[in-house]
Amino acid sequence: MKRMINVALPKGRLGDKAYALFAQAGYECPELLEENRKLTFENERAGVRYFWVKPSDVAIYVERGAADVGVAGRDILLEYAPDVYELIDLGIGKCRMCVAGPSAFTDPHTGVLRVATKFPNIARKYYAAQSREIDVIRLNGSIELAPILGLSDVIVDIVETGKTLAENGLSVLEEIEPVSARLIANKAHYKFMGEQIDALRRGLSKAVQA
């Protein structure tokens, strides 16, 4: 018998949208949406097993092979640079990785630029490419607060509508990269479950285009 495909889905809104695509592609598992304490959900006929994990952990589950495939935002992939295949752009969870700050801010290039972010690797890489020395301030949430209180000069964060920024007198200063959710796969498992994963990929591609 063929082994089931283990799918890591990110908890939250993005995961719900991603599951809708999987269901549309013929990999439904209604149990997934019920309120219960189960951790894994199977659809034996379709040959899939789902589990919810913290969005930033999806890449780790896939890279280390606990999940064969997963759905992860491009932001997470940029930050952790996992050694995985990135099979399709699911076109959901669209936003932008940006540098934001007080609307009037221009970098004076006089000293070290203080950058608050949840994505230290992305921030370091972006500024290193410009040979700009920065002080990374790693935060876990409410990043927008940092420039308001003078904790940092700018922030590097994902921006969806820019509404939160605008309400706090901040705006996008530079765009680093567009972000959306991607289907990723473990490289080694893909070698042995290629047909199953490719069938899933084709189904999802169709669902994305629909």
Partner: protein
């Protein structure tokens, strides 16, 4: 020797050495320490850039070697003769997305001097057979970086941008590849060629036949020709499970020609990696060609784990009243019967065993 004494890792290490010796590869030992400078000059060749360094007693900066190939190449003779070497070594490096250094056991082989089609084919065959020794369910992905570099050479793009394109190819990331090509204004023709190559992946012989029909530049065709000859040789050796996959990309500053990577079902990361690295030789000021691969034995740690109960056949128990000579006699009698025997005090916790003996006591349980 009882094969069960060996862990999976040790058994495979011995089997692989036997395999390499059978094909005339000479065992080669490199020192544990190496000049730090060697790694700084060849950073990009290393899987991770971090090196565990220390000051030697004479003040020179040394490193615990993170890689074996560099040391072998550094010491290789430059006399035009072919050297076939195999090794088992411990290296120290920080695995991708891990915290801190790890000690990693590696075995592998190198063929340095002149690498003709026969020599390259032999190394590929040995790579596939190495995987076969680990498990029947293996895949060897093979590519030739010359195919992609031939296509990219037709575009006026710099090294940094080529690296971005190769990274997307390594991820089989077609949407990302399209986006980068768009940004760099890469011609439609090149873009289509790259996409066709990334999508072509499957059994070596059949996939090569499919790729041969693509419209590709001359240098890419030559690289495909080499793959074709390799495919014929592997077929003659009766080697199976070899796939063509252009997403196998290694740093082009060091690697040229064949590159390959091996996977075994049940292990979530690659267990074998290798390729043709003439460029490394010329960067180190040596003439000649080279090809080789390494098998990451540390990946086998959790693979096919036997139930290690560490029990013994017999247990000899004693207390303060037992005569030590009686213990020796009892234990040796049991050993003479071919049993494994553990001797311990009565009050200690007992491992699983089949027989318990209390020397000098009347009732043996």
């Amino acid at each position: 020797m009882n094969p069960a004494t060996l862990s999976t890792q040790e058994r495979i290490m011995f089997e692989l050495r036997e395999l390499y010796l059978d094909y005339g590869y000479r065992p080669y030992k490199v020192g544990k320490f190496e000049e730090y400078d060697l790694y700084m000059r060849n950073k990009k060749f290393l899987a991770s850039e971090q090196v565990l360094s220390f000051s030697d007693t004479n003040g020179r900066l040394k490193a615990l070697k993170p890689d074996v190939t560099l040391s072998i190449v550094k010491n290789a003779k430059d006399d035009g003769r072919v050297q076939k070497l195999c090794y088992t070594e411990t290296v120290y490096r920080v695995p991708r997305n891990a915290y801190g250094f790890r000690e990693i056991m590696q075995t592998g082989l190198e063929c340095i001097g002149r690498v003709d089609d026969y020599a390259a084919g032999e190394v590929l065959m040995l790579a596939a057979r190495s995987l076969g020794r680990i498990s029947e369910r293996y895949v060897l992905d093979v590519s030739n970086v010359g195919v992609l570099s031939g296509v990219l050479a037709e575009e006026p793009i710099g090294d940094a941008d080529s690296a971005r394109i190769l990274a997307a190819i390594g991820e089989k990331n077609l949407h990302g590849l399209g986006a980068i090509c768009g940004q760099l204004s890469v011609s439609q023709k090149t873009r289509e060629r790259l996409e066709a190559l990334v999508s072509a992946c499957g059994p070596l012989e059949q996939t090569l036949a499919r790729v041969a029909r693509l419209d590709l530049p001359q240098s890419s065709r030559e690289a495909l020709g080499e793959l074709r000859r390799m495919s014929d040789m592997l077929a003659a050796y009766g080697v199976k499970n070899v796939n063509l996959d252009f997403s196998v990309v290694n740093d082009m500053d060091y690697y040229n020609g064949l590159v390959f990577r091996g996977f075994v079902e049940g292990i979530p990361a690659g267990v074998l990696s290798g390729g043709r690295y003439d460029n490394l030789l010329s960067r180190m000021g040596k003439r000649g060609e080279a090809i080789g691969f390494a098998v990451y034995l540390d990946q086998l740690e959790r693979f096919m784990e036997q139930k290690a109960d560490f029990g013994t056949d017999a247990l000899v128990l004693y207390d303060d009243t037992t005569d030590p000579l009686e213990i020796v006699r009892a234990a040796e009698t049991l050993r003479a019967r071919g049993l494994s025997v553990r001797v311990q005090r009565e009050e200690e916790p007992r491992p699983p065993c089949r027989e318990v003996v209390r020397p000098g006591k009347e009732a043996n349980v």
